[in-house]
């Protein structure tokens, strides 16, 4: 039955491809989380009325974020080839995809972080200031914990974008399910491979969405 419907699937290959997709997504997500929060905090803190109010810095960060969000991902990968080669030493394989994945999604997540931080009650920040809190304390004990549910839903949305990006990166040699679907499915006209890869990617997306929603509700005590 299985061999009738899916004659070209090799489970070993499929497993490796799935593993690579997870590998790229999770590592890139970790990087995106860190850099996105840094960018979001910079945008939030330097905005008008912010703790580090700084028009110039705000403009620079906002511009960088906007430019990188404007570049289509597939072109961003090509653009970053020299940088990737310098950083990783190769432009092929899952590790080589990471810089592009992170640079492609951190600005997007940074904007979501900025929105999440703006939602934090100003009164709570004021209360912390009135208690004599340092800016560091306000960031790590007030702003981030108070916006955590929104930060988690944001990273969930970003994760789903990222899974899409890994598939694109796969097409130009990064490995993973996108790579498998393109080289083994599309180019060899083995449509069952494309189909199975699609199903797996959809399942991975569902999985991330489920985890994200669960964690976000769980930590929301409002």
């Amino acid at each position: 039955m299985w061999n009738d419907w899916f004659p070209n699937i090799e489970l070993q290959e499929l497993w490796v491809a799935t593993y690579e997709t997870f590998y790229m997504t999770i590592l890139a997500l970790a990087g995106t989380f860190v850099f996105g929060i840094v960018l979001g905090l910079l945008l939030y803190l330097t905005m008008k009325g912010g703790i580090w109010q700084n028009k110039a810095l705000n403009l620079i960060v906002a511009s960088v974020v906007n430019v990188f969000r404007a570049i289509p991902f597939i072109i961003l990968i090509l653009l970053l080839f020299p940088f990737t080669d310098f950083l990783i030493g190769t432009i092929r394989g899952p590790n080589a995809a990471l810089p592009a994945l992170i640079i492609g999604s951190a600005p997007f997540y940074g904007r979501l972080v900025e929105i999440a931080l703006k939602e934090v009650d100003k009164g709570v920040v004021e209360a912390a200031k009135a208690m004599g809190a340092k800016t560091r304390t306000i960031i790590f004990r007030v702003l981030l914990p108070e916006s955590m549910p929104a930060l988690i839903s944001g990273i969930t949305v970003t994760a789903i974008n990222l899974i899409g990006y890994t598939a694109m990166a796969g097409v130009i040699g990064a490995g993973g399910l996108g790579n498998y679907a393109y080289f083994f499915g599309f180019q060899r006209h083995e449509f069952d491979v494309v189909f199975i890869c699609t199903v797996l990617i959809v399942l991975i997306v569902f999985l991330f969405q489920f985890i994200g929603d669960y964690v976000s509700t769980k930590i929301d005590k409002r």
């Binding site: 009650d121 004021e126 009135a130 208690m131 004599g132 809190a133 007030v142 108070e146 005590k221």
Partner: protein, 343 residues
């Protein structure tokens, strides 16, 4: 304890300048409960924020406990702020923390070790009457309980001054009273100086010793709460007093009612201080052969004294009535006013 000189705050917008606090000078004694009352936009919220420099003063000098707040560097200011508690209209608790963790927050900021922190939090929870709710999140508490957490949090680092920014304005009347009782309790137990901003005269009446009335960024009237209640000079102040005492218009209605249907005399009795607590009416009725009918009245309990007005109709022989009125005027501290004679 607190001395403020020439304090001003001007907000500059694109098109104009708004002076929220205008050349304000004020002294507040240690251990006082000092009320500042005014309508919204009078500048009272800005004023209280200037005291711990949540708003930077444009001009002027603030000295709290021999420390010139306005001269502190930002680092010194942070340390000093730990000694100035503040509570807010909307409580401003961290929803992501439990009651316990919220109260512990200022202690974390002050760098108190964990063991001590826990002991102190325990004490505070007991002080504000939240025993049993330590592990609850703010969303599971009522407004009054949230403000109790706010108060416990403000007291955590044993401040000398507590700033209250409309602390009861989001609460229902009953809860307001409970919170005010708690503030008085704290004031007496800890000898804390409390500065309280409100738009409700009821709050001033209930707990304050001194009051300042603010309008357009200036203090227009100031003094002992009882004095201000008895002899309000400014229009705003009169309005605020009416909030708790009822207005004069009601008195006019009463006169009309009386003249149309009653005989005898209509008297207005002003009670001030301890006489409000004496059985005056029954004493009068026993001493003189007069009938006394209470038409309308209100006695208001202040922080230390009572104060009120009573409208009574007195009937009987004219001589007897004269003697009764004389007695009231001479022998008691009640102020009598004969409003109407109908013979």
């Amino acid at each position: 304890m607190i001395s403020i000189k020439g304090l001003s705050k001007t907000f500059t917008t694109m098109h104009n300048q708004i002076t929220a606090v205008d050349d304000l000078t004020l002294d507040i004694n240690e251990g006082d409960i000092f009320g500042v009352i005014g309508y919204s936009g009078a500048g009272k919220s800005t004023f209280v924020r200037l005291l711990n420099r949540l708003e930077e003063p444009t001009e002027g000098e603030i000295v709290i406990d021999q420390q010139e707040i306005t001269a502190l560097s930002s680092n010194q200011l942070r340390m000093t702020r730990q000694e100035i508690g503040m509570i807010f209209q909307h409580f401003n608790l961290l929803w992501s923390r439990t009651v316990k963790a919220n109260i512990a927050f200022p202690l974390e900021i002050a760098g108190i070790p964990k063991r001590e922190r826990e002991e102190r939090v325990e004490e505070l929870i007991e002080l504000v009457g939240l025993t049993g709710r330590e592990k609850a999140y703010p969303s599971q508490l009522s407004g009054g309980q949230k403000q109790r957490v706010g108060i416990a949090r403000a007291l955590a680092n044993r401040p000398k001054v507590l700033l209250c920014d409309e602390a009861t304005s989001a609460l229902d009347p009953e809860t307001t009273n409970a919170i005010l009782d708690l503030l008085v309790d704290i004031n007496e137990k800890l000898g804390l100086t409390i500065i309280l901003i409100t738009h409700e005269m009821h709050v001033i009446r209930k707990i304050c010793k001194q009051v300042a009335v603010m309008e357009n960024g200036k203090i227009v009237e100031q003094g002992d709460v009882l004095d201000v209640f008895l002899r309000p000079e400014q229009q705003v102040t009169k309005k605020f007093v009416e909030q708790v005492m009822g207005s004069d218009e009601q008195d006019d209605d009463l006169e009309q009612l009386f003249s149309s249907s009653q005989t005898g005399r209509l008297l207005r009795l002003h009670f001030v201080g301890e006489t409000a607590n004496q059985p005056l009416i029954s004493k009068l009725a026993k001493l003189f052969s007069v009938d006394i009918n209470i038409l309308q009245g209100k006695i208001t309990q202040m922080q230390d004294d009572a104060y009120g007005t009573l409208f009574v109709q007195m009937d009987g022989e004219p001589d007897e009535m004269d003697r009764a009125v004389q007695y009231l005027a001479d022998e008691t501290s009640v102020e009598v006013e004969v409003i109407q004679h109908v013979e």
